[in-house]
Amino acid sequence: MWRRDAIAALVAERGDAITITTEQAIGAWRAAVPEALNEIPHHLDIVGCMGSASTIGLGIALAQPTRAIIVVDADGSLLMQLGSLVTIAGAAPANLHHFVFENGVYETSGSQPLPAEGRFDLAQMARAAGYAHAMQFSDAAAFAAALPDVLRQRGPVFVSVRTEPEDGYLVRSSAGTRLDVQMHALRERLAAR
């Protein structure tokens, strides 16, 4: 499926979840949401610490157990900190949904193939690590249809989303907003609730 279709489905079903994107998902998410640039509430674009989107999400999930947390990760990013699957499973946040977009390449740096691409299975790794649920989708219509039920499942939930490689862009700090500004703003918004 195309990344934009999967992102559109997630945006449509996100509700009031705190959302976290990283790498190539950042631009697609920003293109899909109706809010103006830099005005997406309860959202973080994670850059500058590759592989950390899901563990930042874990921390927020533990701190805010009544809020749903949606992390939109990437395969190359997850491989940078693969042990985080076990860390997340160990902490067992019921409110964390971890989507990993798998296109099999390091798109940002020129679409070099991942090591052992096609021979490993991240969803099976997540299941073996101890996630409550793990699944994979490669068809956009099936993904969109299943998403409401997936988001109702008790976490941690791992969802592998197989997407086509595209022409990546150079990911800059939050397409305009620095990470420090985003993180401090989200903390203030959560404190004000």
């Binding site: 610490c49 950390s52 563990t55 985080s84 076990v86 620095r178 903390r187």
Partner: protein
């Protein structure tokens, strides 16, 4: 033969836990450090502060950042070589994103009869110069009477939105 007297003395784990309580710490995110094993055991025996174990120190810094964003008061417990392993997230999260990140860092394997900077072990003697290079504030905890540095380090971190390091000189008891 005259034995060299220690420069660093052990600090009781119970005293550190008491200091963490006084600082209203909510979560201790750790990658297990042999140097702080009694502290981790003491933390495991209580339920006021949640003890979270991460696989890597990079993860620990990220989890701590998420907890802080969510309104909590986390602290990290890691080993000195783990600090070196986590320089990417120390920069990318604690420094660039200006997240208060206070870390208890154990000098595992240190010769306690010598100052850290004069230890034979490279990773130990290079910690303070490394932190100096990166501009990270550090607070040596060399003996029980130094315990107030924990509050100072935590306050420094929250007030400046920067990382800070409490260097634990001798194994906790």
């Amino acid at each position: 033969m005259v034995q060299a007297s220690p420069v660093a003395l052990s600090v009781p784990a119970a005293a550190i836990v008491g200091e963490l309580r006084r600082n209203e710490i909510t979560h201790v995110v750790n990658v297990p450090d042999t140097h702080q094993r009694t502290l981790l055991a003491e933390l495991a025996r209580q339920s006021e502060m949640r003890l979270i174990t991460a696989c890597t120190e990079d993860e620990a810094i990220a989890i701590s950042a998420g907890l802080w964003v969510g309104g909590q008061r986390p602290i990290l417990s890691i080993q000195h070589v783990g600090l070196l392993a986590a320089m990417n997230n120390l920069k990318g999260i604690a420094m660039d994103a200006r997240i208060p990140t206070c870390m208890l860092v154990g000098y595992f394997g240190r010769d306690v009869t010598r100052p850290a900077r004069e230890n034979a072990a490279r990773a130990i003697r290079l910690i303070e110069p490394t932190l100096d290079t990166w501009g990270v504030a550090y607070f040596p905890l060399e003996r029980p009477e130094d315990l107030p540095v924990l509050a100072r380090a935590y306050r420094y971190s929250t007030e400046h939105c920067e990382p800070s390091v409490v260097l634990i000189g001798a194994p906790t008891s």
